[in-house]
């Protein structure tokens, strides 16, 4: 262990930040494509219009989805207990997300290959479901994390999850799902409004304004709701350098406990503030037909909203409702220092490169997409 130049506490904190970065990366980048998918049947009504939207995200959606793949892989590598509990506990919700993510690539790739109205309409609905459902369910999952998941651990660290799929659909979780859907639709609308012309851009602009306003309202409502909800608070001392063992602490449920961090660390208010301000600016920019500012503001809004969830939970990652002291925190649910350090080197090396070449790909594909521009490309979807 002496060969690792960073202490365990620092590594754990860095990986918590990196996990947030990757998930926010997916929400912003993958959110573009999910949002466009969720708007597809509404913002675009003819085959031509739908082709424009599909080809708008067509060249980049595959790369954007890798943020999710890497997010999942990083939870596996850096937070194995979190990966084990969340993926097996939310089993059927995961299956629903997977169904959507299995159908989506086929929708992009298969739709355009046959020119038949029924064939294409079928895939349009697939793309709609493939965009809308993951956006909604991921929010519902986040809501359930704040509510605490019904799981406990035995002495050999085996997981017992005692809930079922329908218990995931609690009112607060559904609210969180709607916040997630709202912000992703705003993002999708900003993408469409930013890179199409005429009626498409106009429709997207209107949907975006309403989705943005709804997000602000629901997010605010969620904030008030959390004040009346039980939050988890660690009551024992917790050594951030200790080997991973979630059972070594004691936890108490406190009404409004998820707001405690904002009293302890007032700077954390930046999270919800950026979320609110970002969405408000996105609405304003859409209203004023300012293309790039709308996309940047809605991305900032997503950054703020997802951060708010993470900051409210800190140091929890996944609290347990049935055995609170088994709740997973960033201090007791990580990999070994060695693995965290190796993965930090790898992520530190590759993430900047990824950002650079992703930027280059977007630069190459820049410009508005229209029916005319599609006709020129033999590979268009």
């Amino acid at each position: 262990m002496s060969t690792i130049p960073l202490d365990y506490e620092t590594l754990r904190l860095i990986w918590w930040l990196l996990l947030g970065l990757l998930l926010i990366g997916f929400a912003i980048m993958g959110g573009r494509d999910l949002g466009v998918g969720a708007l597809l049947p509404f913002a675009a009504r003819t085959d031509e219009e739908r082709r424009v939207l599909i080809n708008l995200v067509g060249p980049t959606w595959e790369g954007n989805q890798v943020w999710l793949v890497v997010g999942g892989g990083s939870i596996f590598a850096a937070f194995p207990p979190l990966y084990a509990v969340s993926f097996s506990g939310f089993y059927l919700a995961m299956i629903v997300i997977l169904l959507a993510l299995i159908l989506r690539p086929a929708g992009f790739k298969f739709r355009g290959k046959i020119e038949d109205a029924r064939w294409r309409t079928t895939w349009d609905w697939v793309l709609f479901v493939g965009g809308m459902v993951p956006a909604l369910i991921m929010g519902v999952a986040m809501g359930n994390v704040l509510l605490g998941a019904p799981f406990h651990l035995d002495a050999s660290m085996r997981i017992f999850y005692t809930g079922n799929f329908f218990q995931l659909l609690m009112p607060f979780a559904l609210l969180a799902g709607l916040v997630s859907l709202g912000m992703i639709v705003t993002q999708g609308a900003a993408v469409i409004a930013g890179r199409t012309e005429g009626i498409l851009a106009e429709r997207a602009r209107r949907y975006g304004i309403w989705a943005g306003l709804a997000t602000i309202l629901l997010f605010g409502l969620g904030g008030v709701w959390v004040g009346f909800m039980d939050g988890h608070v660690i009551t024992s001392s917790l050594d951030p350098h200790a080997p991973t063992n979630p059972l070594a602490k004691s936890v108490e449920l406190v009404r409004g406990g998820w707001l405690g961090n904002y009293r302890l660390y007032p700077w954390m208010m930046a999270g919800p503030a950026i979320g609110m301000a970002g969405m408000a600016l996105a609405v304003l920019a859409l209203w004023a037909r300012r293309r790039l500012p709308a996309l940047l503001a809605s991305s900032a809004g997503i950054f703020g909203i997802v951060s708010t969830a993470g900051l409210s939970l800190f140091p929890f990652l996944l609290p347990s409702s049935s055995m609170p002291n088994a709740g997973l925190t960033l201090w007791d649910a990580t990999s070994s220092p060695m693995t965290l350090f190796i993965m930090l080197l790898v992520a530190g090396f590759f993430l900047p490169i990824i950002v650079l070449y992703t930027g280059w790909v977007f630069r190459v594909m820049r410009g508005t997409v229209s029916t005319e521009s599609l006709g020129k490309n033999p590979n268009a979807y």
Binding site: G73, A78, P80, P105, E115, M157, G375, N379
Partner: protein, 532 residues
């Protein structure tokens, strides 16, 4: 205790989703490299036909790639969903290569795949060529990290069990990366992918030539596929032999089962070509070639290849040692954490996995009876005959492909490409064979490792999530239905693309500036078929 039905259903689901995913992966590996080669020829010679070939194979590649992406994410999520104890137990080691795969390889591949299709008019010739090579590079790096992860399941090096966290943890990451099993598997697997791509292109080109269509493109594609295929077939067999040799060292039971070697033979052991099992399961009749078995597995005249019964006896010893490790672990975690308990655990931890085999029979492993130990030792034997036969199918196909591509390579060098109609049609029929060999290979690798999910470290039944049977029935139902529908749709689409053939002018902006889709698939024909 573990519900064995949940374990069995979880295994079925993993097997189905993994084998389905691996329909698309080898084609991605092979086609991406072949496309990069063809486009390189285009950039070097400037001849439009090579660009046309790149684009045409690229269209088929795109459909296949989408399926690979769709099914790949299931693979990643499934470890946590269905194998949560596995994820906890080995995530510290196994999660890292998966995450690195995403950061280093899949990001590269997936970011540039869009530019491959949409970047033709936006990039310079060299710029686009670079993009195609980056896609191929990404695909190959991806295979590397996935096989490092899988290699660790076969030969878990560079890690040790930490009683404080109750899991395996990395001690030497370089050992995990340079695991000889992983390296041998990687080169064997990517070679198989290249072979798959070569057969795909050769078979479709042969179809065109047999029908006298798209002759210019088909001839050129066939020549590239024949030479690339011969090199791939040679390397897949040679490197497969290497993979088997490495397994002899680390997975003796798997080798013994593949060879139906129930008893240790005097060195050098014969190699059983064919055998018929008798009533007791052991070979009743067999055709063997003297010496060959010992030579290929041990590469020596004097080293013995241990038989199944000797390995079972050895497993008994390790189970007894594992019981001591388990007892010490219970002490350490149960309050009597003494230096003596730690020392005992330190001496026996490497056999802890063998102790866990007893979990099938009782919870307090340290008190197992002799019969239970004997049963658990017997459990270390995988089903022999499925392995024996799939291995022979895979190996037979490997040698067959050398001959097949050798023939085509010879004919191509003589210029005898479209002279023999019978051979062309015969070659069309070869299309499914690479998948038969490849899926057999994965079957041997994974089924042959049973009862372990991580060889010697964690038994499969002990690694599953505590899901309900109904959860698995729902998910299995969803996956099989969806995968079947998508497979049929994909085959129909690929057939249409092949039937429509490459477009004569793919350069956008020229006089032939109609939409590729409309040109490739006549609208009226498509509508007619869909409507009927």
């Amino acid at each position: 205790m573990t519900d064995m039905l949940v374990v069995d259903l979880s295994r079925w689901q993993f097997a189905i989703t993994a084998m389905y995913h691996f329909i698309f992966v080898p084609l991605t590996l092979g086609l991406s490299l072949l496309m990069a080669i063809m486009e390189s020829v285009y950039v070097m010679t400037g001849r439009e036909i090579w660009r046309k070939a790149t684009l045409f194979w690229g269209t088929l590649f795109g459909v296949n790639f989408a399926m690979g992406v769709a099914t790949g994410i299931v693979m990643e999520f499934q470890f946590g969903m269905n194998w949560s104890y596995y994820s906890h137990y080995v995530g510290d080691v196994f999660g890292a290569p998966l995450a690195i795969e995403g950061l280093m390889a899949f990001f590269l591949e997936a970011s540039f795949i869009g530019l491959f299709f949409f970047g033709w008019e936006r990039l310079s010739k060299l710029g686009h060529l670079a993009v195609t090579w980056l896609v191929a590079l990404g695909a190959n790096f991806s295979a590397l990290w996935i096989l490092i992860a899988n290699g660790w399941m076969q030969n878990p090096v560079g890690a040790t069990f930490n009683p404080d966290t109750m899991r395996m943890e990395v001690t030497d990451f370089m050992a995990v990366i340079f695991n000889p099993v992983a390296q041998a598997k990687f080169v064997h697997t990517v070679s198989a992918g290249y072979l798959c791509g070569a057969v795909f292109i050769l078979a479709i080109s042969a179809l065109y030539l047999a029908r006298g269509k798209h002759v210019e493109l088909a001839r050129r594609s066939l020549v590239v596929a024949a030479s690339f295929g011969l090199a791939s077939a040679l390397s897949v067999v040679v490197l497969g032999d290497e993979s088997g040799y490495v397994a002899t060292e680390h997975q003796k039971m798997k080798i013994a089962a593949m060879e139906a070697a129930y008893h240790t033979e005097p060195a050098p052991a014969p190699w059983t070509l064919l055998a018929i099992p008798g009533a007791d399961g052991e070979p009743a009749f067999s055709i063997s070639i003297p010496w060959v078995g010992g030579l290929i597995t041990t590469r020596s005249f004097d080293k013995q290849l241990p038989g199944i019964s000797e390995l079972v006896e050895h497993a008994q010893t390790r189970i007894r040692s594992g019981m001591i490790a388990y007892g010490a672990l219970q002490d350490i975690r149960g309050g009597s954490d003494t230096p003596e308990a730690r020392a005992t655990f330190g001496d026996h931890w490497a056999d802890l996995g063998y102790g866990l085999l007893l979990k099938k029979y009782r919870d307090d492993v340290q008190n197992a009876t002799d019969e239970q130990i004997a049963s658990a030792a017997q459990d270390t034997v995988p089903s022999v005959w499925p392995l024996f036969w799939t291995f022979r199918i895979m190996m037979g196909l490997g040698f067959y492909f050398i001959a097949f591509f050798g023939l085509w390579f010879y004919r191509a060098s003589r210029g005898w490409i479209d002279t023999n109609k019978g051979l062309l049609w015969f070659s069309v029929c070869m299309l499914p064979l690479p998948w038969v060999a490849i899926e057999s290979g994965w079957f041997i690798a994974e089924f042959g490792r049973q009862p372990w999910v991580v060889e010697g470290v964690l038994p499969t039944f002990y690694a599953a999530s505590g899901l309900k049977v109904s959860d698995l029935v729902i998910s299995l139902g969803f996956f099989t239905t969806l995968y079947s529908i998508l497979f049929v749709v994909m085959v129909i689409l690929m057939r249409r693309i092949v039937r429509a053939g490459p477009k004569d002018k793919l350069l956008p902006g020229g006089e032939d500036d109609e939409d590729f889709v409309i040109a490739a698939l006549p609208a009226n024909a498509a509508t007619k078929e869909m409507g009927s």
